[in-house]
């Protein structure tokens, strides 16, 4: 459990990044902080591992104020994934993954063996272990970044726009992979992004920010989609333009396929099993939308 207690951050140039922010992030869940740049979401994330110190207020992890813990030791106990992975260019993939355990004093051989297992876990071939980061594609680097954050089995993962620098196809792939990992591992994940679709894909809980770290709305993706709190949220999630309004369209030519079409008339998927007359086939009433 990560708790923010009236946290304020004022930078030396008098910019207020976060103003009197209070919120509790539940354990073993993915909380996505989403908002445009400058809304203070990254500042909040970086307060958790003391990369940023609040001007006032407290951040607590399981009821312990992080300010009372040694910075370096605290950071080693929290997984951190950054945009463009932030891998060390002079270390091999396997040593990058093993960084935190080695810093904590785990014998190198043991840390490396565990690093290889983590490569399997994030879907990377072990043959990449002896490569240097820049010999990898952007997507592979990002997977190494996730593996590194998981090394040493931390309870908390902080992810700062980790998939922002990769192309949309790879990003979708990484999101799926993260969801799969999370089902398996049940970490407390704090994820920062400006992409609302990414937020809805990953989150158990979404916090949408206005400027200055003010919460526009917090809730599950379903709650936010069903009842946007105000016009700001509606605009942010694209509900105002009907982007998220879906309706069904029966196609005559394609064996009676039922298309799901969004507000702009673009097909977003097909209704699985709908219009299938075969007995014992999927029940149309329980059909599910397969995203295109």
């Amino acid at each position: 459990m990560i708790e923010f207690r009236s946290v304020t951050k004022r930078f030396p140039d008098e910019t207020v990044a976060v103003d009197d922010f209070s919120f509790t992030l539940p354990s073993h869940r993915t909380t996505v902080l989403v908002g445009s740049s400058g809304c203070g979401k990254t500042t909040l994330l970086r307060m958790i591992n003391r990369m940023v110190e609040p001007t006032s207020g407290q951040v607590l992890i399981d009821d312990v104020d992080v300010a009372s813990r040694d910075k370096v030791e605290l950071r080693r106990s929290i997984g951190y994934v950054l945009q463009a992975a932030g891998l060390l260019p002079h270390r091999k993939v396997v040593d990058n993954v093993a960084t935190a355990p080695v810093l904590k004093g785990v014998p190198k051989a043991q840390a490396r063996a565990e690093a290889l297992e983590l490569l399997d876990k994030v879907g990377l071939d072990r043959s990449l272990a002896d490569r240097y980061p820049r010999q990898l594609s952007g997507g592979q680097q990002q997977r190494v970044g996730v593996a590194r954050a998981l090394a040493g089995d931390p309870n908390i993962l902080l992810m700062d726009e980790p998939f922002g620098a990769v192309d949309p196809i790879v990003r979708a792939d990484l999101q799926l992979e993260l969801n799969r990992l999370q089902r398996e591992l049940g970490k407390t994940i704090v994820f920062v992004t400006h992409d609302i679709d990414e937020a809805f894909t990953l989150a158990d809980q979404v916090i949408i920010f206005k400027k200055g770290g003010i919460i526009a709305q917090a809730g599950t993706p379903a709650q936010i989609l069903a009842e946007p709190a105000d016009d700001f949220v509606a605009t942010f999630i694209g509900a105002d333009k009907g982007k998220r309004d879906l309706h069904l369209q029966q196609r005559t030519g394609d064996q009676g396929l039922t298309l799901v079409v969004d507000g702009d008339g673009r097909p977003v998927g097909i209704l699985d099993g709908a219009g299938s007359p075969a007995p014992g086939g999927p029940d149309p009433a329980r059909g599910q939308v397969t995203r295109a």
């Binding site: 370096v72 950071r75 951190y80 270390r91 820049r134």
Partner: protein
């Protein structure tokens, strides 16, 4: 050629001494420049002091420096230590700027990431910053190496026995071959040192192989198996 063959012992002795006189200042300037480079990256004032100071040091003519040094450090005028100290000063003058640039060349996001994943400040400096500054440090030390080998010759005027002796002696006695041998051996020495430095760089920075000056990958290093097995029972 005949002159060289007849004086092999002299040439060898002078060369070895030349090497000894060069190696110490090269290493000293690398070691001393790193804390200076670190200081230069603390703030603008320190940067100006280190870099301007370095340039000023380099403008001191060598002869007066040899005369002044015995007054500052407890050596006699004709002591080789004066030469080593003077060459180290010139080396640091060049290297301070290189070291400042080298440490500044390390990407800020990489440093931020290192801190975020739990490097202590000291560990971050020695295990992330310094290694990543390596390529630019190497470029600087290669310049210092060539410059030091050239400058050692000047030491002959304070009685140091190095390859400079061949220039001086050859000129005084009108033996052109002796001067030519002096130049050639100095040149070869400089090339050899450079080769050693580049090889050391490749061994110590395997991650940097095939990278351009901007640190990006040009070609992916790939080892190719020999197509034909050579040899056999013969």
């Amino acid at each position: 050629m005949r002159w060289a063959l007849g004086n092999l012992d002299l040439i060898l002795g002078l060369t070895l001494n030349h090497v000894r006189l060069s190696v110490i200042p090269i290493i000293a300037s690398l070691v001393l420049s790193i804390p200076l480079g670190w200081l230069a990256n603390r703030n603008k004032t320190l940067r100006a002091v280190v870099i301007t100071g370095g340039s000023l040091l380099f403008t001191i003519p060598s002869l007066p420096l040899f005369v002044i040094l015995p007054l500052i450090i407890p050596t006699r005028v004709l002591d080789e230590t004066n030469l080593i100290v003077a060459l180290s000063i010139y080396g640091v003058a060049i290297m301070a700027r290189s070291a400042a640039d080298a440490l500044a060349s390390v990407a800020a996001p990489t440093l931020d990431a290192s801190t975020a994943i739990g490097f202590s400040p000291a560990a971050r400096f020695f295990r992330v910053e310094l290694p990543l500054a390596g390529p630019v440090l190497l470029a600087g030390i290669r310049v210092v190496s060539v410059s030091t080998i050239a400058l050692v010759s000047v030491g002959v005027i304070i009685g140091s026995a190095n390859l400079g002796y061949l220039f001086q002696n050859g000129k005084q006695r009108g033996i052109l071959a002796e001067v030519v041998v002096g130049i050639l051996v100095s040149l070869l020495l400089a090339l050899l040192f450079d080769l050693i430095l580049v090889t050391l760089g490749r061994l110590l920075m395997p991650w940097n192989r095939g990278a351009g000056a901007d640190g990006r990958l040009r070609t992916r290093p790939r080892r190719r198996a020999p197509a034909v097995a050579v040899g056999g029972a013969s």
